[in-house]
C-alpha cells in the first residue's frame, strides 16, 4: 500500500482511531501516542484491504490492541491511576456525560462506541471484535444500564 493510500485512510479514520484510544487509555497524551502507533503499524504491515470498511475494522482492532498492550506495561502500571486519571477526566469537568462515558469499563466502552457513535450493527461489532453476537448484546445492555441511555433505536 502506498503512503498516499495510507494517508487517505489516516484522514478518513483518524477521529475513529483517536476516540477508540481515548476511551481505553482515558487521557489525551497516551491516546495520541496509541493513535500514532496504530497508523505506524498500518504503514509497517501495509495490509491489502478489499474495502474501506475492512480497513476501518482493522484500525479499530489494532488501536484496541495497542492500548491494551500499553495498559499492561509495567511502567504504566506504576502510575497511581486514580490520581493521574482523575486529574485528566477533571479536564472535562464541564462535560458530565463524557465523564460518565469514560468511567465505563473497556469491555463495554468499545462496543457502545461502535454501536451508538459509529452505527455498526451488533453482528458487525461481533465480527470486528471477534466476540459472539450475544456477548455484544449483553455488554450493550449493561452499558445502557450504567449510562442510563434511553433507547432510541
Amino acid at each position: 500500500m502506498e503512503n498516499e493510500e495510507i494517508k487517505q485512510l489516516y484522514d478518513k479514520y483518524f477521529d475513529t482511531v483517536y476516540r477508540v484510544c481515548f476511551l481505553l487509555v482515558k487521557n489525551e497524551a497516551d491516546a495520541k501516542d496509541m493513535t500514532q502507533e496504530t497508523f505506524y503499524r498500518l504503514i509497517k504491515h501495509s495490509p491489502l484491504f478489499e474495502t474501506d470498511g475492512k480497513a476501518k475494522a482493522w484500525l479499530i482492532v489494532t488501536a484496541s490492541n495497542c492500548c491494551k498492550t500499553l495498559l499492561k506495561k509495567w511502567w504504566y502500571k506504576k502510575a497511581d491511576a486514580d490520581g493521574d486519571f482523575k486529574e485528566e477526566i477533571c479536564n472535562f469537568s464541564d462535560n458530565e456525560i463524557l465523564k460518565t462515558v469514560l468511567s465505563l469499563d473497556k469491555k463495554y466502552s468499545i462496543p457502545t462506541y461502535l454501536y451508538y457513535y459509529e452505527g455498526y450493527k451488533t453482528a458487525e461489532i461481533a465480527q470486528i471484535l471477534n466476540e459472539k453476537q450475544s456477548t455484544v448484546q449483553t455488554r450493550l445492555a449493561k452499558a445502557r444500564e450504567i449510562l442510563k441511555i434511553e433507547l432510541s433505536e
Binding site: 483517536y18 502510575a79 486519571f85
Partner: protein, 354 residues
Amino acid sequence: MKTNDYIKALESVKVQKNTKEEIWQNVLNQEEKAAPKNRRFSVKRFAAIATAAACVAVFASPLISSGIESLMRKMYPQSAKIADKIETSVFEDNDGHVKMTVEEMLSDMQSVYMIVHYEALDETGKEWLANRDFTQPFISDDTGAYFDFGLGVRLEEERSGTFGNSEIEENRTENERWFYVTCELQHVNNENKRGAFGYYMTDGAKSTWLDIGTNVETYVYELTSDESPSDRFIPKYLTVSELSFTIFAENISVYSLYEGSGGWRMESLISIEEMTEVEESTCFVMADGEKIPVAINGGMGCLEPDESNYYCDLLLFDGTHDYFNEETQSYEHRMIDAENIVGLEIMGVYYDLK
C-alpha cells in the same frame, strides 16, 4: 442520557487539525527510523522470501511422518542444517468442517517458524476455506492473547514482537490451504516455555498454548570485559541459538523514566546515529576467526528487571539472524552455527565466550 447526548459527548473527543498533522509526521518519522536492515518481518517481506524459496531446488529429504515433503525446508532452506530439530505433527484441531494442523515447527522461543495446514472436510468447510481471510486480527478468550495479523504465536504477557503468515499458494487446492507462519518475539526465557498459537476454525478465532521452547537450544553467556563499549550502557548477557540472539545490558543513559501526565513514560536519550554506530560495530566472532555482523531486527528497549532477563533493564539488541540481501532487496533467512561462536564484539570491545 439520550443517544444524542452520548454522541455529542464523544464528538468533543478530538484533536486540533495541527495536532493531527503532527501525529502524521511522527508516524512517517517513526517509519523512516526503522531502516530496511532493522525492519522487522512484514507481510511484504514474507512474500519476498516465499518467492525466493520457490526458486530454490527442494532438498532431497526424508519425508516427514505424514508422508508430506517438508515445507519447512522448502520455505527456510537453511533449516536443513538442523532438520532433526524440526518438530512435526505439533498440534491439530478439527471441528467437523475443517481440520487445522501445525505440521512442522522450529522454535527457540524468540523465533518461531511453523507450517500450518488447513483441510476442508465437507462442503461447509470447503466454502469457509475458500473465503476465509487469514490475516484478520483477533483476540482470543482461550489464552487472552491478541493476534493483530491472524495466524501467529504470542507469548504470555503479550510481549511485543511481530509475526505474520504467508500463504504457500502453489500448494493451495479447493480443499487445502497451507501457510508459512513466522514470529519474531522479544527476549524470552519463559520458564513455561509456551506460546499462544492463534488460528481460525469455522466457529471463530481460537488459540491454544503450545510448547515452543524445547526445539532449538539457546546458549547463554555472561559478558565480562575490563572495558565498556559505551558510556551509555554495559553489556551483560548474550543468548544465542541457530535462529536468533539477544543482548541484555545495564542502562546508564540509553533511556530515562519519568513520571508524567497519565503515568510513567520512557524517554529515549540515544540518537539514531549513535544506535546505528553500535549496531554496525556488533558482530559474532566464530571459531575460525570469521566475524559475522549481527542482524538486528529490534533494539534498545526498556526492560523490567527480572529473572527472565538476568535482571537487566536494557534490551540492547535482539533479532533473528536474517539479513537484508541488497541484490534481491529482500530479507533472507540465515542460520548461524551457535555452537562455534567464540566471541562477541561491540564497538571494538571483545567479549570472550569460551
